[in-house]
């Protein structure tokens, strides 16, 4: 069965299980990397306007409602949902659509948190609502072969981004020029979205958007390079030194590499995601940095990664309860502040396989140096 039909089939099953009249999968057209992009994943279309939704009835009819009206042509080409309707006024159109689909008693709403008061009330005046984000999250865990191929392509583009960093990072270039160079290569390689942060100091505190700061000898450049291909994000976290690295930096980075390797070794289906964090933290704690294994010295030991965001899978720390599943993509990163070196970046994206994991990018894990 084609995957899109599976998505519809699962949505209809969930509607039945939850005793709903139907499901509304909403998007406000933005992509916060920390929140699931449910409509993008479900309809396979990234909306650009302020209000968009897939409406699914319990009998399996599906409509994609898109604002602005002119974006419907693009939606028709990308989405598997055949019935695409453009509207100049989502808030006026949605209640009529709910009547047409007989969504008048109880409706499941996905991405309720993205709705403003006007949107929520236009749905709420027609039917009782209950949040149903879990329906899409469940679907998104297991990647199909097509989705894995897309993830590998995103991995290739991310590698290109890091190659560009190595090529262009030099004394005198500003942070914003460096990121422009990196992203030019990523775009040409096919990236349809990019999420890059960096910092370039002798001791970094955190990664941030690029500034006018010019790179100078001895700077430690930390970067989070994340490319999306057909919506799927893949991330690399790397550290590059301009000039010969201080022996202390080399020693501490080696400790992070060991922590990273230890966490990769535990990955397999069926284990709790917290084991990734715990195995990483053990190496760092054994080296005498136990108190640095918690915020503000780090944020998370990894996270899921998917279409437009870190969902499904959310943040990975010592308390994460989620169980790893075959076909799940996740980022593993012992990104860490250490008193001797400042914040360091180290990490990559992997795919959980039946027997362990597959690395989705080819860039080697090591401390990189650029001669000055």
């Amino acid at each position: 069965m084609p995957q899109e039909n599976l998505k519809l089939e699962r949505a209809v099953e969930a509607i039945g299980e939850k005793g709903l009249d139907g499901l509304i999968v909403y998007s406000n057209g933005t992509c916060d990397i920390l929140g699931a992009k449910n409509l993008f994943y479900f309809a396979e279309f990234r909306p650009l306007g302020p209000h968009n939704a897939a409406v699914i009835s319990k009998s399996g009819e599906a409509v994609l409602l898109v604002e602005p009206e002119w974006d419907a042509a693009r939606a028709k080409r990308f989405s598997w949902i055949k019935d695409v309707r453009g509207t100049a006024d989502f808030i006026k159109t949605m209640p009529d659509l709910m009547d047409e689909f007989k969504l008048t008693r109880k409706v499941g709403v996905v991405a309720y948190k993205e709705m403003t008061e006007g949107v929520y009330k236009c749905i709420g005046k027609k039917a009782d609502t209950e949040t149903a984000d879990d329906v899409i999250a469940e679907m998104a865990y297991n990647k199909t072969e097509k989705e894995v191929a897309i993830a590998r392509e995103a991995g290739r583009i991310t590698d290109k981004g890091f190659e560009a960093l190595l090529k262009h990072a030099r004394v005198g270039i500003t942070e914003y020029e460096l990121l422009a160079e990196i992203e030019f290569d990523m775009r040409k390689a096919g990236a349809d979205d990019i999420f890059n942060f960096m910092s370039s100091e002798k001791q970094n505190f955190a990664m941030h958007s690029p500034t006018d700061k010019r790179l100078s000898p001895g700077d430690i450049v930390i970067a989070e390079i994340t490319a999306a291909f057909e919506g799927q994000f893949i991330q690399l976290c790397k550290t590059v030194v301009l000039g010969r690295p201080d022996p202390v930096l080399a020693e501490k980075y080696d400790m992070l590499l060991q922590a990273h390797d230890a966490s990769l070794r535990v990955i397999k289906p069926g284990i709790p995601a917290s084991q990734i964090s715990r195995s990483m933290n053990k190496v760092i704690s054994d080296a005498g940095y136990a108190k640095y294994c918690y915020p503000p010295y780090m944020r998370a030991r990894g996270h899921g990664i998917g279409v437009g965001s870190i969902a499904p899978g959310a943040v990975i720390d010592d308390d994460t309860e989620g169980i790893l599943k075959t076909g799940q993509a996740l980022v593993v990163h012992p990104n860490q502040f250490l008193p001797e070196t400042g914040y360091l970046a180290c990490g990559e994206t992997v795919l959980v396989t039946d027997t362990g994991m597959e690395r989705l990018s080819k860039t080697e894990n090591k401390l990189y140096t650029i001669e000055v």
């Binding site: 990397i33 403003t116 040409k188 096919g190 958007s209």
Partner: protein, 382 residues
């Protein structure tokens, strides 16, 4: 025009205090407080969200949210301003580097943090001005604020801010000139130098690269193939562009928070582009532009513009509108639309765009950012 919003604003993020001195913000605060007094508002809450609608808190603080999240500036009638940012405490140094506001609070729930602040400052009960909360704040957060502020009087303060943001100070005009110059350079580049490949993605990557190297903070690009049946504006795709084909290119650029917009119809050559012009379209554009003067109703301009187009040999394609005000958002109010209640005013910056089809069924689109002074309309993007 609506565009795909990036997951992250990835361009140059600085506060250049020469371009935008701190004094500019103090003047705005002073003026806002005068308006607050008139409305008996004890504290004004300015909420903004995401890559497009960050303008309300940014107008006061200079801080623009990099991701599609919320930020709120709380301005009490007396005392210090507080900036609440949806984010992590480790991001505070980056926030501090672009704002003069000292009180910065990071949180994951802007509404809850705002309530905590109001309690700490004994502002419950009081009269609160809301700008952007009802329109932009996620409903669960907005509902929690409303539920907790039952004893407060809420005043819709968005009109106060809209009115102030509509008139651009000289500093703001200069920022929009800078973003406009970036657009000019990006368009010039694809017309003057060969592209490595005639492909929509390479065109997009090149425009993005030129703008970023010029210091752009955010760039939006849409394209259309007007020779294709049922064409619409859309993000670039991995599609080749043949010699002789037309391509409409929309570029919006933000420089140090301020946006500009330009639209060109290009004819593709073997390795670069040439702007395609039409005397009829250019004459029509100029006629409509001359209708715009301080004091004229927006709706009157719309009526007259459509009347003028009807008299011309061109057909108007209405779906992309005639334009809108521009500044701290690519789409500020008012829109140049029939339903607008506003008037054009002196020192307003706006975009004027025209999508037209000629007798031979050939479509083209043109658009520029315009600064309206007392007696002059200055095109900033040419």
């Amino acid at each position: 025009m609506e565009t795909l919003q990036p997951t992250l604003k990835r361009g140059r993020d600085v506060w250049d205090r020469i371009n935008m001195p701190e004094m500019e913000f103090h003047r705005r605060v002073e003026k806002i407080r005068e308006e607050m007094k008139k409305e008996n508002i004890d504290c004004l809450l300015l909420y903004g969200k995401g890559a497009n609608e960050y303008g309300n808190p940014c107008y006061i603080s200079n801080f623009a949210i990099k991701m599609p999240r919320g930020a709120l500036a709380a301005i009490p009638l007396k005392g210090d301003i507080t900036l609440i940012v949806d984010g992590f405490s480790r991001d505070q140094p980056a926030v501090k580097s672009v704002t003069w506001v000292d009180n910065i609070r990071s949180c994951r729930d802007v509404a809850q943090e705002c309530l905590d602040l109001l309690k700490e400052q004994n502002l419950i009960p009081s009269t609160l001005g809301f700008a952007g909360l009802k329109e932009l704040m996620p409903y669960p957060q907005f509902q929690s604020i409303i539920n907790a502020l039952g004893r407060c009087k809420i005043v819709d303060a968005q009109p106060i801010i809209n009115k102030m943001r509509m008139v651009k100070s000289f500093r703001e005009q200069d920022q929009i000139r800078r973003s406009s110059r970036i657009i000019q350079r990006a368009f010039d580049r694809v017309c003057s130098s060969p592209l490595s490949e005639m492909n929509e993605r390479v065109l997009e990557a090149t425009l993005d690269y030129i703008a970023r190297m010029e210091g752009a903070e955010d760039i939006r690009i849409l394209v259309a193939r007007p020779m294709e049946r049922g064409w619409t504006m859309r993000p670039a795709e991995n599609r080749g562009i043949s010699d002789g084909e037309d391509i409409i290119t929309y570029v919006a650029v933000a420089f140090e928070r301020y946006w500009s917009e330009g639209i060109r119809t290009f004819a593709a050559g073997p390795s670069h582009f040439k702007e395609k012009t039409s005397e009829d379209a250019a004459a029509l554009y100029q006629k409509i532009l001359r209708m715009i003067e301080p004091g004229v109703a927006v709706t009157q301009v719309c009526k007259d513009a459509l009347g003028e187009i009807q008299k011309s040999p061109m057909e108007y394609l209405p779906q992309y509108g005639l334009g809108q005000s521009i500044g701290l958002s690519p789409r500020e109010l008012p829109r140049i639309a029939m339903e607008s209640q506003d008037h054009f005013i002196e020192n307003m910056c706006f975009t004027l765009r025209l999508a037209l089809k000629d007798k031979e069924n050939v479509s083209l689109m043109t658009g520029d950012t315009i600064l309206l002074s007392k007696s002059h309309r200055e095109c900033l993007t040419r």
